[in-house]
Symmetry: C2
Subunit: 204 residues, 2 copies
């Protein structure tokens, strides 16, 4: 039982899995699909060896620069700034954005002790500085989450680049953010007050 318990404990540390679901997965793999056990083991090992962060945007992938940064069809002068890779994936799934990204790797948070230097903001500044020499107009899309930390981070970045804008010769940086309002399928009765207030104020 020692090895099985160890496996269950290890699975239990994964996000979203409790003791019961970890046991269920361990049993499924051991009793019903031992072949899948080896497939997953090899895939995890292989992923560890070959997946890396993109040096430009911070996305995960098998190459650096990643497939998005290498894609010549994507607008190099549009950069969506997201908190994490999962947010980048969420935007990619919508299939409606054709620019590039910059993954911050978190948000500013006084409670968790995350300051600007812990985020990939220096990289972003350098990236924008070198980009502005090639492309005259750059759009930075603030796509952090609509949480207190996300919005604080967005505000900080917005300030940072409007200062840079004043000092840039020739080029210009425009800063936009994702629209706020009712989500698709949202029923007024079930939405929180602040969403409704935002939606009323930003009506068009």
């Amino acid at each position: 039982m020692e090895l099985i318990n160890q496996l269950v404990t290890e699975l239990q540390n994964l996000p979203g899995l409790g003791q019961r679901s970890a046991r269920r997965i361990a049993l499924y793999l051991l009793a019903k699909q031992p072949a899948q056990l080896v497939t997953i083991a090899e895939l995890l090992k292989h992923a560890h060896d070959s997946i890396t962060n993109c040096a430009i945007c911070g996305n995960l992938g098998e190459q650096s620069p990643c497939a998005i940064c290498q894609d010549s069809k994507r607008a190099k002068n549009m950069i969506a700034i997201v908190e994490n890779v999962s947010d980048l994936w969420a935007i990619e799934r919508s299939h409606c954005y054709h620019g590039c990204y910059h993954v911050l790797g978190g948000v500013l948070s006084a409670i968790e002790g995350v300051g600007p230097e812990q985020l990939r903001l220096n990289d972003l500044q350098k990236r924008v500085q070198s980009l502005i020499k090639e492309q005259h107009k750059i759009e930075l899309i603030l796509a952090t989450n609509l949480t207190v930390e996300g919005q604080t981070t967005a505000h900080y970045i917005s300030k940072l680049f409007s200062d840079m804008n004043d000092n840039s010769e020739g080029g210009s940086i425009s800063i936009t953010h994702l629209a706020h309002g009712l989500p698709a399928g949202g029923e007024l009765d079930y939405l929180d007050d602040s969403t409704i207030i935002t939606a009323i104020r930003a009506r068009s």
Copy 2:
């Protein structure tokens, strides 16, 4: 992205995980805990190589016979018959049973085409036959689930061994089943009718 998608697809096939939770686990391992990725990969590989079914009871373990079958403190003449290894684990967690087990590996099911020959019933018959020569009194505890299939299976096994009982010389096999009634913490108002009917009929 190819390798990441492959990993997500493979994780998604595990019981209880959907696309979103599989993605969340993949990202957690890749971005936050790459070391854990290797630990889990090695543990899965190791588990595949060294975990086997006990030749006596069908439990999973690193040895065969398993630790339970080898334990001299356990009553060899008490055998709890369970559907799956997860049911064996559930009884073990209660710390109140000190006999042995027999894992059937499923239940009789006409819909899924599972007949007596697909379950470990032959092994059970041989086990009981050789056991009855050493121990004169054997107790078989029917611990299948309280579902239609579980109870059909229990009824089939009960019939099988009462026939064997009539033919056994000297020894005797007693067949018991787990008590049915209100679960601990059960509130009458929230319980289904058949549980209440069972509890009333079996009142004591």
